[in-house]
Amino acid sequence: MQFDKPATTNPIDRLKVVGQPVHRIDGQLKATGRAKYAYEWHDPNVPYVYGYPVGAAIAKGHIVSMDVSAAKEAPGVLAVVTALDVGERKKGKFNTAKLFGGSEIQHYHQAVAVVVAETFEQARAAAALVRVEYAEEIGAFDLKDAMKTAIKPKDVGGAPPDTAVGDFDGAFKAAPVSFDATYTTPDQSHSMMEPHASIAVWDGEALTIWTSAQMIDWWRSDLATTLDVEKEKIHLMSPFIGGGFGGKLFLRADAVLAAFGAKAARRPVKVALPRPFMVNNTTHRPATIQRVRIAAEHTGKITAIGHESWSGDLPGGQLETAAMQTRLLYAGENRMTAMRLATLDLAEGNAMRAPGEAPGMMALEIAMDEMAEKLDIDPVEFRIINDTQVDPEKPERPFSHRDLVSCLRLGAERFGWSDRGRPASRREGNWLIGLGVAAAFRNNLLVPSAARVRLDHEGVITVETDMTDIGTGSYTIIAQTAAEMMGVPIEKVVVRLGDSRFPVSAGSGGQFGANCSTTGVYAACVKLREAIAQKLGFNSEDATFENGEVRSGNRSVPLAEAAGSEGLAGEDTVEWAKLADSHQQSTFGAHFVEVGVDIATGESRIRRMLAVCAAGRILNPITARSQVVGAMTMGVGSALSEELAVDVGRGFFVNHDLAGYEVPVHADIPHQEVIFMDETDPYSSPMKAKGIAELGLCGVSAAIANAIYNATGVRVREYPITLDKLIGGLPDVT
């Protein structure tokens, strides 16, 4: 199906199942422990053994020699495979750093060996016996130093690294009110609950692999490249995933080590990455340094807006696109953005939930708060004054649907924004209380997605697509889509996901999964409806699918009967034509936060949160709300505690476990409220839905930062906003 013109009325608009608050169809499996995650596949007849990785002990250099004799002689050990054994390998398309092979060490904890033994404990103990001699080289680990030699890349994901409209410098200088500040965001870890884990089983040249992957086809292709086997020989499955946040978009070392380990041991091998490996072995969100400049008239109308960002990555890597949203979010005749990439020898920087916008909004939305204060205009109003209904860099491109203003106004009303006082003006006991606001913004991305839908003689609809459910609710919204399209109750739909034998979907990433994968299912259902109509001699245009029947004129036939003993199937891929060229598709929202800051210790604790989201049709308010609430929680960590601490001398992230890298715990999270605007966006898809999962994160941390400022009068521009950055500005309590 080519989606090439805005959607008109279609069966989804009936909203009998889609848009309804349907509980997760896989919820019971998960709640009862029967949903099998990657490491948990266990056939009692299969003699699984265990692989344990060895990571590089240096940040940069070469392996001089390896001694695995003690490891090989350790109890239970079946095989030891080293990076030198497997030699230089071709690198997957989506990997910046190599995952395994060769003598070069590009970052700390890069895999240098896997030890396979009869038990997990034996493998782990033997892994500690592997001796490696390294030749260390000097690396670059400090972004503040490295930014001086940062380069301007040719392009950033298809977009230019720089943009300029009008005369930014002139307008900035000429404006009556201007503001210029620099912000920093730290390296962050996905820290999802389930670590990367894989089980590899070889049958001759064919490899079966259970893993935890957000993108089935990307993993399969890159695994084939890395192992140098034919892609068709690899069967990859990832039906349940314990969180990803972008950390499982790309092939990781667990799958490669399991495959090499299984080959060497001639046994099925399980490999889970130990928690510290998640930080220094896999990917992380890179730190940024961002400069934001805003100039405006006294009325609050922005006349110039500029955003520059620096981030680092390994050679051949990519930058964090933190200035991207500033090209689109606010009006202003004179504009500039620029993004630069420094070389750093830390682990690979890559996508983490809302790459670009998440850290970009952390800076931009504090700057908007600071500018509003300088103008003495309410920050909600300041944002509304500068709303734009067109792409401000290309005014001929309207937004497909943009309702940021309603999000801000409704949120302000519901949250009691008018109660906000001047900075450091409200105190309850030992708590300084403040309110903060930020806009939310994230683009709506469109990627092809395919599905296969079958109807059987019992009237059961089975959907197969390699789409993944990383805790988001994909199973459920796909079942809702198929039920709506085929006119059956959701109980009549079976959804099978995360298997490379199924048609290639959008996968889970970039908040494109829900809209794109359900559209793929929509397209397949259209085909199945046509097949059914054709078989019955109906004109498919006239056929109505409802109550488990297909009806045309006076004739109706139960679907089960229509299927016959052979059943019927439909398969299709949604391809996205150029609608996004003429219309900018984005999602919008507003975050409101109330914080308390302890007047003595500077500890910041969240008291209330509200997100208002305008993101097209909400396919399922329960799963969508869960996404936004989770994102808001992630934003709390991002604002208050999450920071991968870089040892700039030794070149690694020091706090590489969940004790040292502090994500929020239940006690940190208060009442959270989410409001969805009742809207549709016919430019996005026949589902008229857009992404929601990343929107919920974009802006939260800045709203918290702004609330802390309102509470204390202390402005912190370096995330996370820990108490050490506040206490110097708090009143004397001794």
């Binding site: 782990r124 302890d598 003595a600 210790t601 040892d647 706090n655 476990d657």
Partner: protein
């Protein structure tokens, strides 16, 4: 984790004897710290002596009117005990500020005192650490030190003691009762129990080879306002950046120990004498010899401010 042999000790004396005869042996009780350290091969005992069955798990009154807490009393039980809650509220509050419900159910009184630092370099066996491997160097110094000690440090080690309970014990003048390998008993004031790192940060207490902690005793209740204030980056399940355990009397005198700033719970008699004069002079005396790093200098101010909050609360 390396392979190890295991025995269940039949008596305190037998446990002490068995441990003294094998330098590679360790006692195991709750195991909430030791097992993690063994998995990471930070601790590599070849023999474990399980002391869980030794019966030293009661809370009872002492002749002096204080309380004797058996070494194996679980943190959960200790925090919930009526006598502790009534007469030693500081101890109960400190316990509940630490770890999680699950960990407190397993963790023991003696084990809590003996838990090891959470310095991230101590936990990463690729990095030099004088505490983990004597003489290998300290990688924390010059590295990421936000959590580290600011006082009582040495050029060999700037790690902190992570316990909340120990801070309360220190403020309450606890005494550690032990049995040595030769069967003799001794009582060690908690002040002397933990050592400063000096040149030998791998030696953390004055316990001798094989010596078993059997109980911790507290003197008769001293009354006063008993406050434990733990300051941390998130609301639960985090080690203290700074914690203050205090018993403050109505005349402004009292007892105060500070956690999160040293290799042991930090209490200074001369500082305590300053309590009636307020938080600033007390904190200045507590931290007179502080040698903070750039990254943890904030703890100096934070101790002063937290103590200020505690004294305000005590007056209130």
């Amino acid at each position: 984790m390396r392979a190890f042999t295991y025995e269940r000790a039949s008596s305190v004396e037998a446990a002490a004897k068995a441990a003294a005869s094998n330098s590679q042996a360790r006692f195991i009780a709750g195991g909430t710290n030791l097992l993690d350290l063994m998995k990471l091969e930070i601790e590599t005992p070849t023999h474990l002596i399980d002391i869980n069955g030794l019966g030293v798990d009661k809370i009872e009154g002492t002749q002096e009117g204080g309380v004797r807490i058996g070494a194996l009393v679980r943190n959960t039980d200790l925090a919930a005990h009526e006598t502790i809650r009534r007469d030693y509220g500081l101890l109960s509050r400190a316990l509940l500020a630490g770890a999680s419900g699950q960990l407190r159910n397993k963790a023991t009184t003696a084990g809590n005192l003996l838990q090891r630092t959470r310095c991230p370099y101590f936990y990463d066996t690729n990095q030099p650490c004088n505490k983990r491997q004597q003489g290998s160097g300290c990688s924390a110094i010059g590295g990421f030190t936000r959590q580290h000690a600011v006082v009582g440090t040495s050029d060999a080690c700037i790690a902190t003691h992570p316990s909340d309970m120990a801070v309360a014990m220190r403020a309450l003048d606890a005494v550690v009762e032990t049995v040595k390998a030769d069967g003799s008993r001794r009582s060690v004031p908690i002040e002397d129990f933990h050592r400063l790192p000096g040149d030998t940060p791998h030696i953390e207490t004055v316990l001798e080879a094989g010596e078993v902690v059997t109980a911790v005793t507290l003197p008769p209740p001293v009354g006063g306002k008993q406050i434990y204030r733990k300051v941390r980056d998130r609301a639960s399940y985090a080690f203290a950046l700074v914690s203050v355990g205090a018993v403050i009397q109505s005349d402004g005198t009292g007892q105060v120990a500070v956690g999160g700033i040293a290799h042991k719970p930090w209490r200074i008699a001369t500082a305590e004498a300053e309590l009636p004069r307020g938080a600033k002079s007390t904190a200045d005396a507590l931290l007179a010899d502080a040698r903070p790093t750039e990254q943890n200098r904030f703890k100096i101010d934070l101790v002063r401010r937290t103590l200020g909050a505690v004294l305000t609360e005590a007056r209130g």
